[in-house]
């Protein structure tokens, strides 16, 4: 035996001696469920972490990354689909005897990341510093540097509780989210994150950096060019903080905000570790899915590329031009597979078909003269002859007929079938299932086919976006909708109720920034200041909660109470409550209209049930408040279908229930803000008659009164 080996053995012994003193094993927590719906309709049936990215389930990348970083104990948190995840992992190498680390799957009823953390704290599994990642991280960075940085900042300052790993990316980058830009304000010397905000494009890019921060730190970096890959190195104290603050739901907007806000009180600090080499990103949404797939195929994630064959049984080989093929791929002689393609096992491609920049799963059958560019086609899909597929996602066992056209951005879910000669436009999400909202648990139910979408013998319907009250729901909806091609047009066809609860975030406003400022300027002017984000937050939460309650038919008293408590927590003004209520009403009415009611019926169902709510925030004596309430309704209606009808019937209902006095109507009608733009004028056109009648009545009344007085 050469001395090297001897030395190695000696080293091992020394190490063992040292290990006793050295602390705990390196632990990691994987959050498999991100409690979001951004991957709907695909995540209805499968958890996000098992969605294939370049034909390998996402979780494999994450676990491989952890194994590569030397993690020894891994805890996996699942929410939805725990069984599926567990079944998958049982059959994988990660739960076999030869696994590089011990993996424990934790079932929980958590509804958010915060719940997971609190649960983890209760279970007491974590003994030391741990890595917290999502189940959709694709990374090849070495964590050694980050861990060392974390330890260093720990040594300097006991209160350093977390280190976030961030990947530098330039100003414009496909892997960066386009709809929301996390902005970090970082102290240059210590790498401490002193302020964090999420900026949305189109919003005025102002940061609200607290004065103390500016006073305490000499050099500050304001970084907007970072990819937040969701890799955090945490101390157990992080869990304790989550437990202490039971309302924190999310690691960034809950936890990070909270810690930074309470810095004065608790002196806890959060550090950043910025990586400038190697790869780290999160498959956060479909846009990121597209970008990261391309990164993987063009080897930016090396060595985590398809030809590494991470999963047992894969046999990918790299061919010229970044084409990866597994064994048993059958390509017709006249077919053409261009650059950056991945073809899974036993997939066949027919004559004269042309495939470029696409990922195609196993056992797919692709007919003749098919043109596929930039598509993601998962296992067992069938594509008929002469079909054209652009940048779309086609899930397992989906079947596309002959001469079809699947346009850019379409999503076709599991088992859907598109019959011959159909065109699926880019805003469609074709699926066969639907999530039914239950009180305890959401159920997934089968939905009958919609021949308008999938053709005569097709299977599937167009899925409207389900609503969810998660923090980043706005992002979820705007996924890939802007610059990214994937699902580019979705915004226009989202059912109106969804679109509208995000007044301030809605891209159409962003695009037509000038109109927005015209119409909202006077109303929103006070908001544009420092508390803008909290105002939006409140608005969004309030609208969602009101709308949900209306849907469920909750007792108005309870709603009133909720609204009040929300108002107090957010320290919101009456005006905002009115606005929220106005928007919620509109949303509900729009929702009812969509379900088949006439605008009149819809408007009338709200009253007098919710009289209380209106009375609570709109005083019957204050003309100004009434006018403002109407103004909010009007403004909100500008982007709803049948806005003018709704305006009419809502006004009518409000008037007949004596919620708004004629004076209020008059004031509104005469207010120049209500005619500020053409849209606004259009909305109130139908209502003109009503207002006239009301005002005349009023005048008559007063005249009469006057008369009687005179008498």
């Amino acid at each position: 035996m050469p001395p090297k080996g001897k030395k190695g053995g000696g080293g091992a012994k020394d190490k063992k001696g040292g290990e006793d003193e050295r602390q705990e094993p390196l632990q990691a927590v994987v959050l498999c469920d991100s409690f979001e719906t951004r991957f709907n309709p695909f995540t209805l049936e499968r958890p996000r972490c098992l969605l294939p990215l370049a034909n390998t389930p996402l979780i494999e990348y994450t676990l491989e990354f952890l194994a590569g970083s030397g993690a020894e104990e891994v805890f996996l948190y699942c929410g939805n689909h725990t069984d599926t995840v567990e079944e998958y992992l049982q059959n994988s190498k990660w739960l076999s005897n030869t696994a590089p680390f011990s993996l424990e799957i934790i079932r929980s009823t958590s509804r958010s990341v915060g719940d997971c953390m609190r649960d983890l704290d209760q279970k007491g599994l974590i003994v030391g510093d741990f890595i917290c990642v999502y189940g959709d991280v694709v990374a090849n960075i070495s964590l050694e540097g980050a861990l060392a940085a974390h330890r260093a900042s720990r040594e300097k300052n006991k209160n350093a509780i977390m280190t976030m790993v961030l990947r530098e990316a330039g100003e414009n980058h496909r892997t960066k989210p386009t709809h929301m830009r996390p902005t970090f304000v970082i102290d240059q010397d210590t790498g401490r994150c002193v302020h964090y905000e999420q900026i949305r494009p189109g919003q005025s890019a102002t940061l609200d950096v607290p004065g103390e921060v500016l006073k305490d730190h000499v050099d500050l970096d304001v970084r907007e060019d970072l990819i937040d890959c969701g890799i955090d190195i945490c101390t157990p104290n992080v869990l304790a903080q989550y437990t202490d603050n039971f309302d924190w739901q999310l690691p960034r907007r809950g936890f990070l905000y909270g810690i930074l806000k309470d810095f004065e009180t608790f002196q806890l600090t959060i550090h950043t570790h910025i990586v400038t080499e190697e790869y780290a990103a999160r498959v956060k949404n479909l846009q990121a899915y597209d970008a990261i797939s391309r990164d993987v195929v063009s080897r930016w994630t090396y060595p985590l590329t398809p030809d590494t064959n991470l999963v047992a049984g894969q046999t990918f080989q790299l061919h010229k031009g970044s084409v990866y093929r597994e064994e048993g791929v059958v390509l017709a002689r006249s077919s053409n597979v261009g650059r950056n393609c991945v073809l899974g096992k036993a997939t066949s491609v027919g004559d004269h078909s042309n495939i470029t920049n696409s990922v195609i799963g196993r056992r797919c059958v692709i007919g003749s003269r098919v043109k596929i560019d930039g598509a993601y086609i998962w296992d067992d899909a069938r594509i008929g002859d002469d079909t054209v597929i652009e940048k779309a996602v086609i899930a397992n066992e989906a079947s596309i007929g002959k001469r079809c056209k699947v346009e850019q951005g379409a999503l076709i879910s599991y088992g859907a079938k598109v019959s011959d000669g159909t065109t699926i436009s880019g805003d469609r999400r074709v699926t066969t299932l639907k999530r039914k909202r239950g009180y305890e648990k959401d159920e997934v139910v089968q939905v009958p086919a919609d021949p308008k979408i999938v053709g005569e013998d097709g299977i599937g319907y167009h899925m409207q976006f389900d609503e969810d009250e998660e923090e980043e729901v706005a992002e979820a909806l705007l996924v890939g909708m802007q610059n990214m091609d994937l699902t580019v047009d979705d915004i226009s066809t989202f059912d109106s109720d969804e679109e509208d609860d995000e007044d301030d975030y809605e891209p159409s406003h962003a695009r037509t920034g000038s109109t927005r400022s015209d119409s909202f300027a006077s109303i929103d002017s006070e908001e544009s200041g420092e508390n803008k984000s909290s105002v939006q937050e409140f608005h969004r939460e309030a609208v969602n909660s009101l709308f949900d309650d209306m849907k469920k038919g909750t007792d108005p008293d309870t709603m009133q109470l909720e609204l009040k408590s929300m108002r107090l927590t957010a320290n919101a003004e009456d005006k905002q409550v009115r606005r929220a209520l106005a928007v919620a009403f509109n949303k509900r009415v729009a929702n009812l209209i969509e379900s088949g009611k006439s605008p009149k019926e819809a408007a009338e169902t709200l009253f007098p049930t919710y009289n209380r709510l209106v009375k609570g925030c709109v005083s019957s004596d204050e003309e100004y408040e009434q006018a403002e309430f109407l103004m909010f309704i009007q403004t909100d209606l500008t982007h709803r279908a049948q806005g003018e009808k709704m305006m009419l019937f809502l006004s009518n209902a409000l008037a007949t229930n004596d919620l708004i006095e004629p004076d209020g109507f008059e004031k509104w009608w005469n207010d120049e803000r209500s005619t500020a733009s053409e849209q606004l004028v259009a909305i109130r056109k139908d209502t003109e008659q009503l207002v006239k009648v009301l005002c005349e009545d009023d005048e008559d009344d007063s005249e009469e009164e006057e008369d009687s007085d005179d008498e």
């Binding site: 190490k15 190697e278 790299l318």
Partner: protein, 485 residues
């Protein structure tokens, strides 16, 4: 499982440390994932890891006969090769170990009656002996390029199949005695023999000369004889095991001293006031140049091998050879050349052609040497070799025999690994990377005709002679590991 340092990324060192006391299957899986993640890369670390792992495989108790062992090693080898087909050193070591096992088995069968055939293995072996073997089982058509072996006609592999179908204790069915019995030391060991005695003095201060010392592995394994087993079979098995373990240890020994052996011929090739061009941070080349620098003064032009290896090239030039992680003592061979009074000039890869006319010699270190004398080396090697050809500068390749692979280059494109394009274009440059396909080949293919001389630990060879060394080191039946037995 012995845990690595908290937060320490796994590497060759952690793997070697974890090897002891870990379940063998876990170790195999660990090595596979390390290879896949490229946390063990380059020929030498791969070779060392593979050899040590196979040592453990042999040391485990499970196998009954030599045939079983061969099958087991083939299985393990197949998995390892599939994990990273472009690290051919892995496959080479697996084949070498298989060769050792087969030899031991044949020998054992030849001397059926007297079971202690050669108690002093290898010590009387002479360098020449390995070159005088009569059998030349070189069947080029059976060589498989990478993992494509499965797709090739497999008629060549029918032989071993028949062998395992009847797992008789002796390997008589398997290998017709084409080869005369050899001393159980591997072929290259024979070549290494004279040096071991020389270097053993420095290498083994505890006096544990590899020759004749009872192998460590057998020490743990042998005292557990199962009484119910047939005594004779047991004895035979133990013998095979001890000898195979010896053979693998010799292999490891060879890996350890290969640089020194190659460096011995340095003075024959490097003369005073020559200008030598070299490439990458190869330890072998550094040792070679250092050996020459002790006696002679010359100038070295060092091509930096951007972007995959330039950092270690720079550190090699400034600090001397990279310490492969383990705390290597301040050995002389790690002194930078500049400290020995040698002028070293670093140039970018693009300047190679301009400077080539002034060179006296080009020294390259390959990643893998292929059976036909061509080689795969770090990207940039092809440019250098072509430029040298144009200027008629001799190209000398320094390679340990362990880098010599029986693979025949049918499809050279497939042997090239493509690395992280982020080293060429920063990932930060979003717009660029979005619109441009960036490739970063890690290796280059250099054709045999561009190489003038190979220097291995067996001495200097013409490229056209390499097939012979291949034939000496690998058995035909082992060349295609992918065939299912």
């Amino acid at each position: 499982m012995p845990a690595p340092t908290v937060g320490q990324a796994p590497s060759l060192n952690t793997f070697l440390k974890s090897l002891k006391g870990t379940e063998i299957e876990t170790s195999i899986e660990l090595l596979i994932s390390l290879l896949k993640r490229r946390q063990i890369k380059n020929s030498r670390p791969c070779a060392i890891a593979t050899a040590k792992l196979l040592l453990q495989v042999v040391a485990e108790q499970r196998w009954r006969s030599a045939q079983d062992l061969i099958k087991r090693i083939r299985d393990v080898g197949r998995k390892l090769v599939a994990a990273q087909p472009r690290e051919m050193a892995v496959g080479n070591i697996v084949r070498r170990v298989l060769g050792v096992v087969r030899e031991v088995a044949e020998e054992d069968q030849d001397s059926t009656s007297n079971i202690a055939p050669e108690s002093l293995p290898g010590s009387p072996a002479i360098v020449g002996q390995s070159l005088h073997r009569p059998a030349l089982p070189s069947n080029i058509s059976g060589f498989s390029p990478l993992s494509h072996g499965a797709a090739l006609p497999q008629n060549v592999q029918t032989q071993p199949q028949s062998g395992t179908s009847s797992p008789s204790l002796d390997g008589s069915v398997d290998s017709p005695p084409r080869r005369p019995p050899m001393p159980n030391a591997g072929g290259s060991y024979a070549g290494a023999a004279p040096h071991t005695s020389l270097f053993g003095i420095f290498q083994h201060p505890q006096g544990a000369s590899p020759i004749g010392t009872p192998p460590i592995g057998s020490g743990t394994a042998s005292p557990i004889p199962k009484s119910k087993k047939d005594q004779e079979e047991q004895k035979e098995k133990l013998d095979i095991k001890a000898e195979v373990i010896d053979g693998i240890k010799d292999l490891l020994e060879e890996l350890d001293i290969v640089d020194k052996q190659i460096a011995e011929s340095a003075l024959d090739h490097i003369h005073s006031n020559e200008i030598i061009l070299t490439h990458t941070s190869s330890q072998t080349v550094q040792a070679f140049l250092t050996a020459a620098a002790r006696k002679r003064k010359f100038t070295v032009i060092h091509v930096e091998a951007y972007p995959n290896d330039h950092e270690s090239t720079h550190s090699t030039i400034v600090n001397g050879g990279q310490k492969t992680g383990d705390d290597a003592e301040g050995d002389e061979r790690w002194k930078p050349l500049t400290a020995m009074g040698i002028k070293v000039i670093v140039i970018p890869d693009s300047a190679v052609f301009a400077l080539m006319s002034r060179m006296n010699k080009v020294i390259l270190a390959p990643h893998t040497v292929l059976a036909n004398g061509s080689l795969i080396a770090a990207a940039g090697a092809s440019t250098i070799a072509q430029a040298a050809k144009v200027h008629h500068v001799p190209v000398v390749v320094l390679s340990g025999v362990y880098k010599l692979s029986p693979v025949y280059p049918f499809d050279t494109d497939e042997m090239i690994e493509y690395g992280d394009p982020g080293k060429v274009i920063p990932y930060q440059d979003g717009e660029f990377m979005d619109k441009v396909d960036v490739v970063n080949p890690v290796y280059d293919f250099v054709d045999a005709e561009l190489v003038d001389l190979y220097i291995t630990n067996l001495g200097g060879h013409a490229p056209s002679y390499l097939y012979r060394i291949v034939a000496d080191h690998y058995r035909t039946e082992d060349i295609d590991l992918t065939s299912k037995t």
